[in-house]
């Protein structure tokens, strides 16, 4: 056991070990984002569709499912953030004297602002949870609707109300732009970190990463735009 612990601490202490964990937790978050977006798009299928989906999430496994997901996501996010901050600090410490003349050969803009886009996403995650999960400073939690003869949370009304307020819609869209940038580098980078990229496959992963980032951006932004700009549901 102690030998196993020693191996694990060596792994965590090493640059590649930390990066592998960043990539794995990033993969969990990437998969979650896709599912979360598809679920959210049910808003365009009308009130019943999204309310039924919300009710299903809340009652899955007698209410345990949502907690399993929450704990898994919390662990992934915390590990991802703690390690990326540590990696970024080590990277800054590795070059104390800056160059007098700076040149960049092929690093993308997105790859150079990962910590900035990441920390914006973190701020967004906190706001988003307070807004739609904890219902801090709003009464969205009291919205109820009858679905199939049962009293359930009115998710549809909550989302429409949430995005009818311009500052919220704007912050969501800014956060999604930075998330798109984060994913634009992160998704293909993940394949490289996990050791799955070769000269033949790297261009494919880069295309998948860009397409995925664009999909998440368009899918998620369509909701506040439809509601605020085109008065969907209002």
């Amino acid at each position: 056991m102690s030998a196993l612990l020693k191996s694990f601490s060596t792994f965590l202490g090493s640059s590649i070990g930390k990066k592998l964990l960043v990539a794995l937790t990033g993969a969990v978050l990437v998969l979650f984002l896709l599912g979360h977006m598809i679920g959210n798009l049910l808003i365009f299928a009308g009130p019943d569709a999204i309310n039924e989906y919300g009710h299903f999430l809340q009652t899955m496994l007698h209410g345990g499912g949502v907690w399993i997901a929450r704990i898994g996501l919390l662990v992934s996010v915390v590990v991802h953030i703690v390690l990326t901050i540590q990696l970024t600090r080590e990277n800054r410490a590795a070059r104390t004297e800056r160059y007098g003349y700076n040149a960049t050969l092929q690093a993308s803009k997105s790859s150079r602002i990962m910590i900035l886009s990441g920390l914006t996403i973190l701020a967004f995650i906190i706001y988003h949870l307070l807004h739609f999960t904890v219902h801090a400073g709003n009464n969205y939690g009291t919205y109820q609707v009858i679905l199939h003869g049962e009293n359930v949370h009115d998710v549809y009304k909550m989302v429409i109300a949430g995005f009818s307020w311009l500052p919220a819609s704007i912050f969501y869209i800014i956060a999604m732009l930075l998330l798109c940038s984060h994913l634009g580098h992160g998704v293909s980078s993940m394949f490289q970190t996990l050791g799955l990229a070769t000269e033949r496959t790297r261009p494919i992963y880069e295309k998948i990463g860009s397409a995925y980032a664009a999909l998440i951006l368009i899918g998620n932004c369509s909701i506040p735009i439809a509601i605020y700009v085109f008065h969907y549901g209002r």
Partner: protein, 265 residues
């Protein structure tokens, strides 16, 4: 007719490791365009010495692009603007009269400046000592082709073996990471049958030595591949990541416990 160039140089001058460095402006007039970059520096140094000054220290050895000793950052790019070319193989005809050229040392905490443009790259030696070798029996040469190796594997290993260990990857990396160097040196041996017995130990040892020397972490921006005078591919970094994961699993879960190999005592 070869013409001459008049250049404005901004050269990093730093008397010793812990001294503060600054850029010194030097006019380099009448430089033949047929000179190499290092020959240009030789001419500049001769003029400095003729005036009783302290010449610019820089590293060089083979001057034919194979030893990896020359090490300087020219206008922000290690070995200068021409792809796949070491500083010693760079020609002055690439520059125009009137150009300003910034010349700085490789900058990384793991590569302390010795003087001016010369840096201490012994961190690379420590990484090599930690696993950049194979153990073989000495004695008479073994029969040719006793160890079958596919042509593809041999070619691939040669791609990694092209690394001349100059450190341009570290110098250009936004994080001063040594991953391209370490991955090429480990990957070359890990691709061949002779490298298999020590593979896991090599990977763990070289990565540990790399981390201990204070290099940064790879963020997959691939600046290294673009700056490498030998064009070493970042596919070696992917392989090192993979081999590191396998070596960790091997060492922590699969390998027999130390001292319990089951052989005679």
């Amino acid at each position: 007719m070869a013409s001459n160039l008049n250049l404005k140089l901004k050269i990093w001058r730093q008397p010793s490791t812990n001294a503060k460095g600054t850029f010194q402006d030097i006019d380099a007039n009448n430089i033949p365009e047929t000179a190499s970059f290092l020959e240009m520096l030789d001419i500049v140094n001769q003029r400095i010495m003729d005036g009783g000054g302290d010449p610019v220290a820089f590293d060089h050895d083979c001057r034919e692009g194979i030893c990896g000793t020359c090490s300087m950052v020219i206008n922000g790019i290690p070995h200068g603007p021409r792809r796949g070319t070491t500083a010693c193989q760079l020609h002055m005809r690439l520059f125009k009269s009137g150009d300003t050229i910034w010349i700085e040392p490789f900058r990384a905490k793991a590569f302390p400046v010795i003087k001016d443009l010369a840096v201490d790259r012994s961190a690379f030696d420590r990484i090599m000592v930690a696993g950049g070798f194979i153990s073989v029996r000495t004695g008479s040469a073994q029969d040719a082709n006793a160890l079958p190796i596919s042509k593809d594997d041999a070619d691939s290993a040669m791609d990694a073996a092209e690394c001349i260990g100059c450190g341009a990857c570290v110098a250009t990396c936004k994080n001063a990471s040594a991953m391209l160097f370490v991955s090429a040196k480990a990957g070359q041996l890990n691709s061949l049958p002779q490298g298999q017995p020590e593979k896991h130990r090599r990977v763990l040892g070289m990565v540990q030595a790399m981390d201990k020397s204070g290099f940064g972490n790879c963020t997959n921006q691939y600046e290294c591949e673009a700056a490498c005078p030998k064009g070493i591919s970042v596919r070696w970094i992917a392989k090192l990541n993979r081999d590191y994961a396998l070596a960790t699993v091997h060492e922590s879960l699969l390998a027999p416990a130390k001292g319990k190999g089951g052989g005679a005592a």
